[in-house]
Amino acid sequence: METRFLEVKWVGRGGQGIVTASRLLAEVALRRGKYAISIPMFGAERRGAPVVAYNRISDEPVRRKGPVRKADILVVADYRLLSMVNFFYEVKEKGLILFNADRVPPPLLNASKKVALVNATAIALKYGLELSGLAIVNAPLLGALIKVSSLAPLSTLKEVMKMYWGEEGGRRNFLCAKEAYEEVKYIT
């Protein structure tokens, strides 16, 4: 019915940087002259608990703030969450699922949706983006998302990361994002 939005749903665990990822994506879109909002869903926040955030991106001002029920792109930061929520139902017919995993999770092998894979955890750990044993995967996932959505060039993401995390933090996060941008691949 409505096609004027790009709607993104982020699913992950507390500590993986999901809410920040959604915020940065909105910043990227804003810098590309789009309107964008970032909607985090909060509960009793704690590390490891499931976390959800949304983005709506459009050429016109975004007025609706209700949650995204069917996303164009679903980003799953932890594939083990697949057993807890029916994510397939939450993706539009021609939507895309972007997965953080080192191999194809079995339930996705027969998926009718488009699926892209990136090992964001390995990339994050390689650059030391880790806190209390949990890999912070938002930077590589953003890199991969920029690639599959063609929303913006990598340079815009670089600017936004620098704004959020300063010179050194921005540089390290951007290296992660760039590597994920190059490595993300479609599996269906």
């Binding site: 409505e2 909002i37 975004v62 609706r64 703030k65």
Partner: protein
């Protein structure tokens, strides 16, 4: 006067909480006294950052409760300063005694209320029961749909509160999480422009001064008490005009004009939904979708709850055949708080050929979005055939 449209506009991605802090900073508040509560905490955190970084010359009073937060604002305002506080839910209830004191003492305090459900059962999510609990206290109550409106409303709130014809505190509300934590693009007016719109407060003759001592809050005998209450109401009634004038002037400066209500495609509408806060954005999208299908649907967004926008509402609603009021609030044993007010407004004004339905929805953050509003509109298009009547519907209640 400078026009913002011609000057440089900075657009930032801000949550409503941060927009509130920027609004208070641009209003050059002098005293911030607040106690943290989810989901308000970031408002005060950001203001503390501004003060620490010397971007805002204000004193942060660290209080041990919301009751003390409002007491500190009352003291500051009584001494002629410009205070700001923010709270939510249980915190607002905890400061309740002081809420009435602030209005009764005619003090121009501005307070952000991040509207959240009241416990038990415990909930941190969106609901309007908290802010509506101060409805009858004499506070002016203004509601915001977006982060932009939060910023704009806080700046305007000081002009309204400090207006000599008004002199009453103003509560500016926005929804828990749906607004408070959602980041949106916000145009930040330049300080210079806000300064030209909102000069420093000029204290009234009754402010406290150690050199000319007076005392506030003395015992009032039955011979005088009623007149004080009557005069509070007079101030609130006059505020209606002031809010409109201030909203118009703000519009000239920024391109964003504000009134008591916002009408969206009401002109030829058979069915109008009345709502407030973040839900209004979703209703606008629902109206546009339904209009493409040939439905004459419209929205009235309540910006101002107190003073009640009687004439504006009547003007917008009188030609409708059905009016649905969707609200996150309920008066136990009666119906939707805003719905019963609007229903009685219509009936007392002789508008009887209209169906009014009070929709209780989204309590405690229950999801409600565009598709729900389309459902509500479509059911109202059926109900309007009844011609008249009033009904209460709990929308989305699990069986």
């Amino acid at each position: 006067m400078i026009s913002l449209r011609r000057s440089k506009v900075m657009k930032l991605l801000l949550t409503s909480n941060y927009a509130a802090a920027y609004g208070a900073k641009l209003a050059r508040v002098e005293i911030v006294a607040a106690y943290p509560i989810t989901p308000q905490t970031q408002v005060v955190e950001k203001l503390a950052e501004f003060i620490e970084g010397e971007e805002l010359k204000a004193t942060m009073i660290r209080v041990e409760s919301e009751h003390s937060a409002m007491a500190a604002c009352i003291g500051a305002a009584a001494a002629g300063a410009r205070p700001f506080t923010a709270t939510s839910s249980q915190g607002l209830l905890y400061m309740y005694e002081m809420i009435w004191w602030a209005a009764g003492a005619r003090l121009p305090i501005v307070m952000g209320v991040v509207t959240r459900a009241i416990a038990p059962p415990w909930s941190i999510w969106s609901d309007h029961a908290d802010i509506l609990s101060i409805r009858d206290s004499g506070w002016i109550i203004i509601f915001s749909e977006s982060a932009q409106e939060v910023l704009d409303n806080i700046i305007q709130a000081y002009r309204i509160a400090e207006h000599k014809e008004v002199l009453l505190p103003v509560a500016v509300g926005w929804d828990a999480f749906t607004s408070s934590h959602t980041a949106e693009p916000v145009s930040l007016p330049e300080q210079e422009l806000v300064d030209s719109f909102l000069p420093p407060r000029t204290p009234e003759p009754f402010v406290l001064d150690v050199n000319e001592p007076i005392s506030h809050g003395n015992l009032t005998y039955p011979d005088e008490y009623m007149e004080f209450r009557f005069l509070i109401n007079e101030g609130l009634e006059r505020a209606r005009k002031v809010i409109r004038e201030v909203g118009k002037e703000y519009g000239k400066l920024t391109g964003r004009e504000y009134g008591l209500i916002e009408e969206y495609k009401c002109g030829d509408a058979d069915v109008i939904l009345v709502t407030l806060g973040s839900m209004a954005g979703d209703v606008k999208d629902a109206v546009d979708i339904l209009r493409k299908e040939g439905y004459h649907a419209g929205l009235v967004k309540l910006r101002c709850l107190r003073p009640f926008p009687r004439e504006a509402l009547l003007n917008a609603l009188r030609e409708a055949r059905a009016v649905g009021i969707v609200e996150r609030s309920f008066s136990m044993g009666r119906g939707g708080i805003i719905a019963t007010e609007i229903n009685s407004l219509l009936r007392e004004s002789g508008v009887n050929d209209v169906v009014t339905v009070s929709y209780i929805a989204g309590l405690g953050g229950r999801e409600i979005g565009v598709n729900d509003f389309i459902n509500i509109f479509k059911s109202l298009f059926k109900k309007m055939e009844r011609g008249s009547g009033f009904e209460v519907v709990w929308y989305g209640l699990r069986g």
